[in-house]
């Protein structure tokens, strides 16, 4: 994107290998603040890998090699001496399968703040309420905060996971196909939520659902075989794609 000063994440010549397999090839992308960026593409195209690179969750996989740079607020996240915990606090993640901890709803939300040193009970209560409200699930769970989170429905669990991510006050939310395991009603709730959240947060969302990308995102990036084929404003890309491969994909000719 041309408005470089407004971008919160700036990726330059990013390549990633799993062992000998190159999963990402020379990715260049700037993600603007307070927007929703959708990553689309067929399975195995590297979009989830790319997403996980942004909060260094790929560090955990053995045999990963990364070159190029990812700048978050102007600082390279791969520079030596970067505090990965702090980076992951600022860049939150919501996973494909809702994954609440097998603890109470309250403890799920309080887990992150507690990890980062907040012990004060009143303060935790505040954070829990604020986060649950932020994820539009407060009214549904306020009377059973002490109940096990695994008793919630799939859609509620996913919103709980979003609330849990919000509880550590991140700037960016990475979402890895957050609605693929959910029914249509829960899906639309999450989509609405995402659109509200972009007022305060920057959202990067991987989706298999092109309608979803059209509905909620400002910008879309199309990945294919580890390459970033096209990146631009969502409406432009879906109305007049510049690359033949993008056109073939979004019109449903493959993928």
């Amino acid at each position: 994107m041309e408005a470089n000063e407004k971008s919160i994440l700036s990726v330059k010549e990013l390549c990633l290998w799993y062992g000998n397999h190159q999963a990402l090839k020379n990715i260049n992308i700037d993600i603007p603040k307070n927007s929703i960026t959708a990553l689309i593409g067929p399975s195995g195209c590297g979009k989830s890998t790319f997403l996980k690179t942004l909060d260094r969750m790929n560090d955990l996989i053995p045999d990963v090699k990364i070159t190029g740079s990812v700048e978050y607020k102007g600082e390279d996240i791969f520079a030596p001496g970067v505090d990965v915990s702090e980076l992951r606090r600022q860049i939150g993640m919501v996973f494909q399968k809702p994954n609440p901890f097998p603890m109470s709803i309250y403890d799920n939300i309080a887990y992150g703040p507690r990890t980062h040193g907040i012990r004060n009970r009143a303060k935790l209560d505040d954070i829990v309420e604020k986060s649950l409200r932020g994820a539009a699930i407060w009214d549904e769970v306020k009377d059973r905060l002490r109940k096990n989170a695994l008793g919630l429905s799939g859609g509620q669990q996913q919103r709980l996971c979003i609330a849990r991510a919000l509880a550590v006050e991140p700037d960016v939310l990475l979402m890895d196909e957050p609605t693929s395991a959910l029914d249509p009603i829960s899906t639309s709730k999450i989509e609405e939520l995402a659109m509200q959240l972009k007022e305060q947060y920057t959202i990067v969302i991987v989706t298999h659902n092109m309608q979803q990308a059209v509905r909620i995102s400002d910008n879309t990036a199309f990945f294919l075989l580890g390459e970033l084929v096209e990146y631009g404003k969502t409406e432009e890309m879906f109305s007049q794609p510049t690359d033949k491969r993008t056109e073939d994909y979004i019109t449903g000719r493959f993928g």
């Binding site: 992951r88 994954n99 901890f101 097998p102 887990y111 991510a165």
Partner: protein, 295 residues
Amino acid sequence: MKQNKKHTAKPIEAIVHGVFLVAGLITVGCVLLITVYLIISGLPAIKEIGLIPFLFGKVWASTAKTTEPSFGILPFILTSVYGTCGAIVLGVPVGFMASVYIAKLAPKKLKAVMQSAVSLLAGIPSVVYGLVGMLVLVPGIRKLFNVPDGASLLAAIVVLAIMILPSIIKVSVTALEAVPKEYEDASLALGATEVETHFKVSVPAARSGIAAAVVLGVGRAIGEAMAVMMVSGNAANMPGLFESVRFLTTAVASEMSYSGGLQRQALFSIALVLFVFIMLINAALNFFLKRDKEA
């Protein structure tokens, strides 16, 4: 069900079915036989001595000639309980931390080495533990604590602590490895470090399995005879850390060969008491495993 009947209708199927059934029945039969035998042969002595004097009597003098023989097994019960508790106190922290390391932190190669070492530890016969304990531990304790004889409860505790490590580690590792990776990812993505994640998420999620591992260790410790007999001095004293002591198991093992009359019957009663302990431990184990399944 209908399908099953169809299968067993074929003669070979029926025979194979029968063979497996018999194998199963043999197992059940053995348990029943032992239980019934222990109860029948263990009760008479308790009846004659009296339950309270038997369980809470402090003096065991089964072969006393000049005075009336005395059959109090409190020293054995307490020795077994203290010995087991001691082994748990020493063995559980080590076993627990080792299993977290093996299941979560160790690099692949080191993990393989450690796991085979644990298996090997499980495979060492208890007489070898006893032998090493006799040759290394007993003199070591004598010198270190400056006591007349190193063969003591302490020596037995140390040997037991090592012997229960494999049970604890194997079951805990299995439980920790069964924790869904999604939980750990969620924790890491919130900015928790690896160690924080393992202690705040993985371990609590595996707690039933870890509790089961500890109970299994208790069962192993309380039932062990050979190794503790070799290092504990085998005298029927009330337990003290540096006393020469006798366990429930070793009380039976050491006198059975030359016993007769009421003494012999009392040994069966000791075995019955031990059996009750083991049953309680098994019940506890089932409780934890069941809770694990439900969770």
